[in-house]
Symmetry: C2
Subunit: 96 residues, 2 copies
């Protein structure tokens, strides 16, 4: 399924910047960076549970936040792009 | 329906910054700013067509981009939050 993950990590401190890098690294294991602060990840249920557990350990829940949007398996017609194209499209580049 | 709009507007120029403000203003008519670069909008089909037409006029399609993710009408169980709460939650604050 496609899971859109958006993040708002407080980067006022070096520790916050490090958390942001860690969040990005984990998400990049499962998808591509969409636009600013957005990852498009292709996950099965087990991967999703695992990734959420990892991310919950990384973030500081007092200052950071993540949001997960579940687009399901039939997501091609649920995503629309307008404007300049990105270099990588998760839908076309990942094999699943 | 819930439509998530993410944007990547090139703000290297003052014109770009103005476009970003215009995009944000239009999206705020229909929802709340989620995290960085993300809007959660509650739209019916007509509003969605209208908003997309307006946004396509605002952005510079050579340098900016928008993505629309359609979460449908039954979206409450398709959105999950982790970490610090935002001040406003579109799901609870809008009447539709």
């Amino acid at each position: 399924m496609l899971v859109l993950i958006t993040y708002d990590v407080n980067t006022e401190t070096n520790a916050g910047k490090a958390r942001l890098r860690k969040v990005a690294k984990q998400c990049m294991n499962y998808g591509t960076r969409g636009q600013n602060s957005v990852f498009e990840c292709i996950l099965d249920n087990t991967q999703c549970v695992t990734l959420k557990a990892i991310l919950s350990e990384i973030i500081d829940e007092n200052v950071d936040s993540l949001r997960f949007y579940y687009l399901g398996n039939n997501f091609k017609n649920k995503v629309e792009h307008m404007g300049v194209e990105r270099g990588i499209d998760v839908v076309d580049t990942l094999i699943f």
